[in-house]
Amino acid sequence: MIQVTADVFSGRPNPTWEIADASEIRSALSELASNRGLLDSRAAALDGLGQLRGFHIDIHSDETAAEFDLGTSVFVPLSADRGDGRLHALAERLIGLASANGVAAGAAARGVQAAQVIAHADLQTFLRDKLSRETGTTAPDSNRSAEAEAASAQETAAVTCMVEFGAYNPGFWNNDATVRTRNNCYNYASNKRTNTFAQPGRGSGHIYTAITCPAVSKAALSDGLHQRFVCFPDSEKPRYLVALVVAPGPGFVDFHWYRKNSEGFWSHKPGGTAVRNVDNSNRIITDPATCNRGPYTQFCGYFYTCKSQRIN
């Protein structure tokens, strides 16, 4: 088991949660180990009041700590994230692991009364909001942008939705063979690891009935995604901008997803292979609508994912 404490409050006790799932623990510790150069126990004292300063990780087994060559207590300082977003991505993961049971268990372990336990969803929203304020990953996505205006001569109502752009963090998906091979493009675009090779619509019980743009789009919308410019509220953070494409055949029929990152490019995960930010011509992807997609020649459109997305 590992215990995570968000270093955010000054007077009140910091929120704490526990992670008991063995595969989640291994995945989190592997990420920590690969970023060990950024871990700095002095950083907590350097940061300001009222900010999310970082996360204390307590590893409850010295054998586990030794396996990953980490101490039994590690601090993840967000101030050490110098623009490549790796610590921000790790922070997103740790917040996402604050499950209902974990929060309650963590609070109980510290003798906190039930009424004082912050609902896990509220805690996640609170911490994600802090994280995005301090790292600037929430951004407007407007249909009045130059490219949208150029694409449509028709006058349309101005719509601006707020979305999140996660940092490009291929290591989380690539370093562990199980994670790499059991998660696909839909998992990666949604930034939700299920280890089930997730299929659009399966999580909501309405899996696609054909592999066409309309059918796969309908299945994804059933899981909770929105078409681009149909905004989600802040309570649905993180809201990622993703794109769907289809290989129409003949002979080869499949679907594929891309996700936009905070660095400005797009990235994707072709099936059980590694995450990358380049297309079939080995060029950085600036727009999935125009990049080299091999046989995935039909561009279906852009969507937003959301926190309550049902994915399996």
Partner: protein
Amino acid sequence: MKVELEIYSGQPNPTWVLTHDEVDELNLRLARLLVRPSAGPRGEPLGYRGLRIAAPTVGESITIGAGVVERIGQDGSVRQFDDAGRNLECWLLRTAAGRLDEALRQLGIADIGSGCG
């Protein structure tokens, strides 16, 4: 032993199973491959990428494509071998005849090119 056609992104890849005789021949063919200096990870584009074989020995996986065979150990170690003429890849695709969607099998054969039919 199961062979996976590395081709899809969204859907699970199609697979077929080798017979005992085919597994014996595969092991012979693998043993004859020449080691090559590692040239970094293989390119893995959208569309046909090659073949993957799981667990010939415990925890190991083998990927075959674009003239390179990669043996990835349980500890993550990677050894690369030359698949000269893409002969091993072609032979494996021939074993898939009648056991795999023919249109998909032909995509792999077409990727290898002349001499594999």
